[in-house]
Symmetry: C2
Subunit: 370 residues, 2 copies
């Protein structure tokens, strides 16, 4: 019997099954494509035409390594948010940055606080460093600021995660409530404030950026409103010393050259972004109308998706989801207790929402056993 | 005085300065562009025209997330190497995969063996998990297989790194020697066999792939011969259980959609690859000729660069490097004792090698103080 190299203790203890199932995997299993891809909170409206044209022009330049400093993109993001270059770090999507934050602030056995049912990739990365999750239930379909705070104090957590606007519920807190939460946090607890949907909700939900505070990391992405989920690029804004600490472990050549170029161009076309924001708002209204026409309750949303209360329990909503999938409509749903009565539908193109409107009644009838 | 969140002990102990200085950073500092970009072992010949055309066509599709399974690229890579999909994992370049390997096999305080002067990014990632490097000097400008083996046994190292063909010296071992090394390794020691330059050297340097062996991970990249350094994509081939362990911690959405598509297309155009390999061989001969015409000694190379012995000590070679940089020729050099007498010149386009040929005599004269 041959021996094997031993995994390090933290990795050896991790489960082999992981939570990542993309629509492509489902299509492979089903043997056919979805007719509506409205499940991953992508932007069906795509990136700005300027971004597309730029990407086409630079395709042939991809023989060159990316700039390991991500300099031009950091300059553009810093200018956009009126901070210094020293306050910005770029990563392989917010996911990549979350992996680094976990390594930076969590030692094995440390408790990390998040909401029960919040972003699973954060949880995945916390597990990956041997952290222990302390989860706080949502309250009225919002992340519970008071609950998170209480858990942070009780667990002496070095790290807490808050998504605002929230995924998977689409809910949000006004900036003044978020600021109150930040000010009440222990100074030794780092807050990851995930603002992936920040461009899509009310401006009043976004606190002014304060880079003097060493325990807040704000995260932004090109995956949502900017329509560039495929390029894998996000950035974090924080106090300069916090940003310097990312340098110690990040994969300096991790963000592609194409992504850096596309990101710069995307930030430069704010006029296009505004059109997307308007189209997303219209799409949310349309999804809400479709839900109501079917006797379901759409939740208010500050994101590019609408979470719909199906009016019964988790197993019922799961049947609705399955009915839609079997009708070639790719959507997703929250799975945590209390949230699992809902399905989550991303804003898509008109023809995709037509498909959703057409197929929802059948999926509901099947779920009800009619 | 405000408190700060504490870094985890491993990260807190790391230096803030990092070894990554790209040519873009040098150009920013100099205030002008290089005339020859022949320092980062990129492929100035670029990717296949098929790859470029495909990238241009799919630019507009980048609103979709990448497939987190990297499925189509894994299928293509598996077919290319005649292994199963279960034997392949895709990452954000070999760099990204090295970061995962460090986390998988190295616990804090573990010794990890590599050659003194070998790939610094590997060392960076080992430091990032609290590993301790045990370095073995090169022998006759080759990595010392016997020396590495001895260090592995002495240090009870869980992990050892070997680049074949080698960077920064361009040297290589024949497959039978590598196999002898593998067979002599303790079964509990994982070997990272970095074959980034594998397509560019003699086929006789590449051992047949044996995915039954649980202590070897072979790494390949699209950054070198395939001319796609900017897309950040590489892959590892190993026994299926080893590959499954990567799933536990990798950033599942880390490799861009564009990279996955480009990688598939690149593997499909082996005819183009052959033309690149031939052009690289011609470029190596040209660089060697230029070196010899200047009284320097080019080392034999199985890569897309030529390492040139400048005939004196490290400080002299550093002056030659600086002379070339100041003459707008971007090259690099090894820094480790014994290797530091050399400069390293990547194969570039004809007009870039013309610039090198034109500027080298002046740089040499300046280094000699003439």
């Amino acid at each position: 019997m041959r021996q094997r190299p031993a995994l390090s203790p933290i990795i050896a203890a991790l489960p082999s099954t992981v939570p990542f199932v993309g629509p492509e995997a489902q299509e492979r299993e089903r043997g056919r494509a979805f007719r509506a891809r409205i499940g991953a909170n992508e932007s069906s409206f795509g990136p700005s035409p300027r971004v597309i044209a730029r990407m086409e022009r630079v395709a042939r330049d991809q023989w060159m390594y990316c700039d390991p400093d991500n300099y031009e993109l950091k300059v553009a993001a810093a200018a956009h948010h009126d901070v210094a270059v020293e306050n910005v770090v770029v990563g392989e999507g917010i996911d990549g940055l979350l992996s680094l934050v976990a390594r930076m602030y969590v030692a094995p056995g440390d408790a990390v606080v998040t909401s029960l049912g919040a972003y699973p990739t954060f949880n995945f990365h916390i597990a990956g460093v041997g952290g222990r999750l302390a989860t706080v239930p949502y309250e009225n379909d919002r992340e519970s600021l008071d609950g998170l705070l209480e858990a942070v104090v009780k667990e002496r957590a070095p790290l807490v995660y808050l998504s605002n606007p929230d995924n998977p519920m689409g809910s949000w807190w006004e900036a003044k409530e978020v600021i109150r939460f930040i000010e009440a946090l222990p100074e030794t607890t780092m807050l990851v404030l995930d603002e992936a949907y920040g461009e899509l909700g009310p401006a009043s939900a976004l606190p002014a950026i304060d880079i003097s505070r060493p325990n807040v990391i704000r995260m932004r992405t090109f995956s949502k409103a900017y329509g560039l989920a495929g390029i894998r690029c996000g950035y974090a804004i924080a106090e300069a010393e916090v940003i310097r600490d990312f340098e110690k472990i990040r994969n300096h050549y991790g963000v592609s050259r194409m992504a850096q170029i596309a990101g710069v161009e995307a930030l430069a076309d704010q006029a296009y972004l505004e059109t997307v924001v308007a189209r997303v708002a219209a799409g949310r209204r349309r999804i809400a109308d479709i839900a109501e026409q079917n006797g379901l309750k759409p939740l208010a949303s500050a994101t590019n998706f609408v979470t719909i209360d199906c009016g019964h329990d988790g197993p019922f909503a799961l049947k609705v989801l399955q009915g839609l999938l079997s009708r070639d409509v790719f959507i997703r749903k929250p799975m945590a207790p209390g949230l699992d009565r809902c399905i989550r539908v991303s804003v898509g193109l008109d023809h995709e929402l037509d498909v959703f409107a057409w197929e929802l009644p059948g999926a509901l009838a099947a779920a009800r056993g009619n």
